[in-house]
C-alpha cells in the first residue's frame, strides 16, 4: 500500500495508535473512512482490517486500499475466528451498539487485546446539565439531541470498569482525555469519572 494521505482529527485516534505494536494484526470495528487504519498502516505497518456500517465509509476505505467489509459490530463479529487478531479496536462506537456487553465479549474472543475509546457520561458537565437544567446533556463528545442520537448505550468510566471486571478483562492501560489533554491513569476512580471527557482503554484477557 502506498502511504495514504491522512490527517488525524481525533485525539483518541493518536492515543490508540500509541498502544499498537508495530507489525501486528488489527481489526478496527466501526472504522469510518479508514482514518485510523490508514494511520496504523502508515506509522506501524500493521496488517489491518475494518468493519464499517456506512456504504460511503466502506467505499472510501476500499478505494484507499484498505481491507474493509460492510457490516456492524453487533452482527458481524461472531464470524471471526478466536484470537485471529492481535488487537481489536472499537473507537467511539461501543455506545452506539445494541448489545455492548456481547460486543466486548466478542472482542475479547477475537483479539489478544482490545482497545476501546468512548465518551464519559459521568463527566461533571454532563451531570450538571441534567441536574441544573433538567435537560439531556449535549457536550463536545455527545453532540446530539436526545431524539436523534445514535448513542443508545452511554456509560460512565466507572460503569465501564465494572463491566470489564464482570467479563474478566484486565485493564492494561487507561488514558484520561480532558479537553485537548490526555494522560495515563491507573485504575480509574471517582475523580477521573468526573473530569474525563473521553477515556481510552487497552484490555486483555485476565487468564
Amino acid at each position: 500500500m502506498s502511504p495514504p494521505a491522512f490527517t488525524t482529527s481525533r485525539v483518541d485516534l493518536e492515543l490508540i495508535a500509541t498502544m499498537i505494536e508495530p507489525g501486528s494484526r488489527v481489526l478496527d470495528v466501526g472504522c469510518g473512512d479508514g482514518e485510523l487504519l490508514a494511520l496504523l498502516a502508515h506509522t506501524k505497518n500493521v496488517d489491518g482490517r475494518g468493519v464499517e456500517l456506512s456504504q460511503e465509509g466502506v467505499n472510501a476505505c476500499v478505494a484507499r486500499g484498505l481491507s474493509v467489509i460492510q457490516g456492524d459490530a453487533d452482527a458481524d463479529l461472531r464470524d471471526y475466528p478466536d484470537n485471529g487478531f492481535d488487537y481489536v479496536i472499537l473507537s467511539q462506537t461501543i455506545q452506539a451498539t445494541r448489545n455492548p456487553r456481547e460486543v466486548l465479549r466478542q472482542m475479547k474472543r477475537i483479539g489478544k487485546r482490545a482497545v476501546i475509546s468512548f465518551p464519559n457520561f459521568g463527566n461533571w458537565k454532563v451531570r450538571l446539565q441534567l441536574l441544573v437544567l433538567g435537560r439531556m446533556p449535549e457536550t463536545r463528545s455527545l453532540g446530539y439531541s436526545w431524539y436523534d442520537t445514535p448513542n443508545i448505550h452511554l456509560c460512565t468510566v466507572r460503569d465501564f470498569v465494572y463491566l470489564c471486571d464482570e467479563l474478566a478483562l484486565q485493564i492494561d492501560e487507561a488514558v484520561n482525555v480532558t479537553g485537548d489533554r490526555a494522560w495515563k491513569i491507573g485504575r480509574p476512580g471517582h475523580i477521573v469519572n468526573l473530569i474525563a471527557d473521553e477515556a481510552v482503554f487497552l484490555l486483555s484477557d485476565k487468564r
Binding site: 500500500m1 502506498s2 456504504q55 466502506v58 467505499n59 478505494a63 486500499g65
Partner: protein
C-alpha cells in the same frame, strides 16, 4: 455481451473498443489433453476461444482473467464479430479503466459449453460426425474453470494477478480461488453466490422447459434437422431478463406506458412498453445464442455449491487462503441478493482471509454490475491498485 443486451445500457457511455491483441484466438487441446469432467466423463478434443488485451510482462505476473456471465462471451472489451456490438464491459476493461489494459494482460475465455467458438453442444461430436446436441456431457462451473486453467497453463502463466467476474463469472472467480488458491493473487466476485439458490434453479428450470417445449427443439437435434427453437429460447430469455432488473428500474423505465398507442387494444399484442421491450430482448437473444448451450450452462450454475465439496462448511473452502478478496453486491439485486454475497464474506472472515466487501446502492438490479456504477468503479480501482502494489506491479 453478458446478461443484458447492449440496447438496455444507458446511453452516452464510452463505447470505444480496443483492437484485440492477436484477436479471434483459439487453443485446441487434442487427445493428449482431455478435459476431465466432474461427471466422471472426459471431453476430448476441445477448443477454447479467447481474447487477450494488453501485454504480458517479463515476470508473467500481470495477468487478469475476466470470467463472463451466463450469456456472455470472450469479447469483454472488443467488438463481437457475430453481433458487431462493442465489448460487454467497456467501463471496466480498457486503457485507463479499473482493469487497465496498459498495465495488465487481460484474458477472457468463452466457457466450455458456450457457443462463441469454445467447444459446446452445437459443435460436431467426433464420435458421430453429428452436432453434439444433448450428447454433449453435462458440465459444471468446476469444469469451466479446469478448462480455463489448462489455457492459462498453455499461455505459460503460473499464477493470475486477478480473477474477476459477475454473476456466473463470480462463481468461476470463487471456483478459481478455492480450486487453485495458490494461483490467484486477488479475486473480485461480483453479484454472485457460493451456491445457486432454489429460487434461481427454479427460474432456470422455467427457461429450460420453455426451450424443450418448442416443437422445433427436436430433442436437441435442431441443427441436424434444420429447425430452430427460437420461440422457446426467446421465452427463456424474456423470463430470465426480468430477473436481471428490478421492480423499481422497470417502473422507472416503463411504468404502465403504452407502446405506440393511445389506449389498450383489447387483445394480446404488445400494448405495454415493457412487453415490447421483453419481446425485443427475446428476439435479439436468439440471433446470438444457441438453445442447447443455454440448457447446459444454466445446468452448470444450478449444480454450483462450493461448500458441498468441503463438508458443507464454506469457510473450509477458503482455509489458509492468501488471496485478497473484494466482494461486491447491489442493493436491488434479487437474483444474487446481498445476503448471498455476504455469506461469502462471512466464510472468508471465518477463514481469517483478507477481504473487502461493498454493497452498492442502486435500483438497477442484478445487471448493475455491467452498467455505469461510479461507486463500484472507484472502489474496484482502489482495490486493484493496492493489490497491484502488493504484487510489485508498478504503473
Amino acid at each position: 455481451m453478458s446478461e443484458t443486451d447492449q440496447n438496455a445500457r444507458p446511453e452516452g457511455h464510452d463505447g470505444a473498443t480496443i483492437p484485440a491483441g492477436a484477436g479471434r484466438q483459439t487453443m485446441t487441446f487434442g487427445p493428449e489433453a482431455p478435459l476431465r469432467l466432474d461427471s466422471g466423463k472426459a471431453l476430448s478434443p476441445f477448443t477454447i476461444a479467447y481474447e487477450t488485451y494488453g501485454r504480458l510482462n517479463a515476470d508473467r505476473s500481470n495477468a487478469v482473467l475476466v470470467c463472463h456471465a451466463l450469456t456472455g462471451d470472450q469479447f469483454v472489451a472488443s467488438t463481437n464479430p457475430a453481433t458487431g456490438k462493442p465489448g460487454w464491459w467497456p467501463m471496466m476493461v480498457g486503457p485507463g479503466k479499473p482493469i487497465d489494459t496498459d498495465r495488465f494482460f487481460v484474458i477472457c475465455q468463452n466457457v466450455i459449453g458456450g457457443c462463441m467458438g469454445t467447444t459446446g453442444p452445437m459443435d460436431i461430436n467426433p464420435a458421430t460426425g453429428q452436432p453434439y446436441g444433448l450428447s454433449f456431457p453435462v458440465i459444471t462451473i468446476g469444469d469451466m474453470v479446469r478448462a480455463q486453467a489448462m489455457l492459462v497453463d498453455r499461455l505459460g502463466i503460473d499464477d493470475l494477478f486477478c480473477v474477476i467476474g459477475g454473476s456466473m463469472g463470480g462463481m468461476q472467480t470463487l471456483q478459481w480461488a478455492t480450486a487453485y488458491p495458490g494461483r490467484v493473487h486477488s479475486a473480485i466476485p461480483i453479484a454472485t453466490a457460493a451456491r445457486h439458490s432454489a429460487q434461481n434453479i427454479a427460474f432456470h428450470e422455467v427457461g429450460r422447459q420453455a426451450i424443450m417445449a418448442d416443437p422445433e427443439w427436436r430433442s436437441g437435434n435442431y441443427i441436424a434437422e434444420k429447425t430452430s427453437p427460437s420461440k422457446g429460447l426467446a421465452v427463456a430469455r424474456m423470463a430470465a431478463h426480468i430477473t436481471y432488473l428490478s421492480e423499481a428500474a422497470l417502473h422507472r423505465k416503463f411504468g404502465r406506458n403504452l407502446q405506440d398507442r393511445e389506449a389498450v387494444g383489447y387483445g394480446f399484442d404488445a400494448d405495454f412498453q415493457i412487453e415490447s421491450y421483453l419481446r425485443y430482448q427475446g428476439s435479439a437473444f436468439v440471433e446470438r445464442f444457441d438453445a442447447n448451450s443455454y440448457l447446459f450452462i444454466t445446468r452448470a450454475m444450478d449444480y454450483f455449491d462450493i461448500a458441498a465439496e468441503h463438508d458443507g462448511v464454506l469457510a473450509k473452502a477458503f482455509a489458509g487462503t492468501r488471496t485478497r478478496f473484494c466482494v461486491v453486491s447491489f442493493t436491488s439485486d434479487w437474483l444474487f441478493p446481498t445476503s448471498d454475497n455476504r455469506q461469502i464474506v462471512h466464510a472468508l472472515n471465518a477463514a481469517a482471509a483478507n477481504v473487502s466487501f461493498v454493497e452498492i446502492n442502486t435500483d438497477k438490479g442484478h445487471d448493475a454490475f455491467l452498467l455505469d456504477e461510479p461507486e463500484m468503479f472507484s472502489t474496484l480501482r482502489g482495490f486493484i491498485d493496492s493489490a497491484a502494489q502488493k504484487r510489485g506491479l508498478t504503473k
